[in-house]
Amino acid sequence: MVYNSPVLFDQSVTIVEAFTIRQDRRKLLIISAEPKEVDKIHQFIKEINGHKDYELVEINNALQLENVRELVERQKMGTQLYISAQWDDAVAIFTSAIEAGFSEDEIQTLISGEKKRFVYCVKCYHLQEVKQEENDTICHHCQISLEVGPFFSRERKGYIGYPYNPAFIPSN
């Protein structure tokens, strides 16, 4: 990974509601790490309907997850990667794929459950998780109030947290 490598965050362009077939790819690689989404995966395979080469890899334990690195590294050009997983597993698979040379355009990610979101306090440079709906929070490290801004940093792995004084109310 280099500093400007893509990272998986809640607004990643790779996150989809449902997988779509990329006709321009030679092969479709589906990594399924979430048993709850198995119906969606079968539905997608039905859609592929033999028109494309595909490979389905099911991940059921930590060891298999570790082997994902090797799996993505041996893929050839023209492979479209589909990741179906809960957040933390999706991050691990996504990161391995990026390290193996996949671009964001070559990845679709289907998240099961909650997406994680982080805020970076620009006062003390502490990174912490925030809920999806939280627009402001308190920094766990320096205790300052933070407004969660809309800008994300790959370097800092979170959204900007603007420090503010909640006791100050503008007169106008």
């Binding site: 620009v122 370097e155 900007i160």
Partner: protein, 328 residues
Amino acid sequence: MFESTNLELFPYPFHTIKEGNNYRYSNDLRKLDKDHQNCVVITPEYKKQIERKRELLKEQPAVRFQSYPHTMEMQWEVAEMLMKLAVEKYPEHFQIEKNGNHWTFHNTILNETESFIFGDASSIELEPLDLIGRHFTTDFVLMVNRDDNLYLEVAQESYAALFSPHWNKGMSFDEIHGPVPFVSRTGVPLAERVRNFLLRNVLPGEPWTRINWNLMANRWDVNYETFDTWGPTRYLVNSENAGELVRLRVEEQFFYRMPRSNAILFVLNTQFLAMKDLAQRPEWLMQTYSILSDIPKPMADYKGFTPFIEPTVEYLKNEVEQLNLQAK
């Protein structure tokens, strides 16, 4: 807080507005002619500014200077160029001695010398741009050209305005300008248009410039880290004290394509002029009043001066009326 005392050296930002007195965003880059390509400038405030810049760098190194380890060679290239420009423009203040790779840079204004082995980062205590940058009042941002974009890989910034080397490190030109809310007439986001323009036109030996401006209320640097401190002070301004508290903050920007690394160096010369000092140049006062009375709200919001634009315009209106009375 220092203020410009020599108005001849103050980069007044609205010179280029020839017709009418309205300011709108545009691609306002200009190619520098042969006689104006040197960004080094020694103002009467030089010593004061250097002192403050070094204090800030010492107090908050992680806030003011950021770089990646792989940028050393690029930093040496920039340091070499800056020393060369300084010696060329002010030989009475700056000299360089080269004995093979053993270089000594003299700054006679500060009575300082820097000795190092050029290209050997272990021969100096700071990183090359951080060391040489401390002899110049300007801020420096090195944007590296990768994948048709520019990425911030080194920055030494002591006068940041809604910017932070720490936060913006590693961001592309587009990400840094994400907050810019404007699109061009053709619907292309302004930042994308400017980025493409820089990539195509800023070539080795052909630097460009533009002037960015803003208004600051009682602060000299407004970085993200201190938003909780300076955010509320913007509400202290009224039409009585705006002359003292509000300053025209002007950032004269220079863009140099580095021939070896292909990166673009942004040199930012930040100067301040208090609203009360505009009266020294009646034409500046009249034009600034006219421009500020007509600023669209999204622009004021983006620049962060919405909380005090009204009292500032009121103050300038009173000043202009006084000027008109004197003329009668």
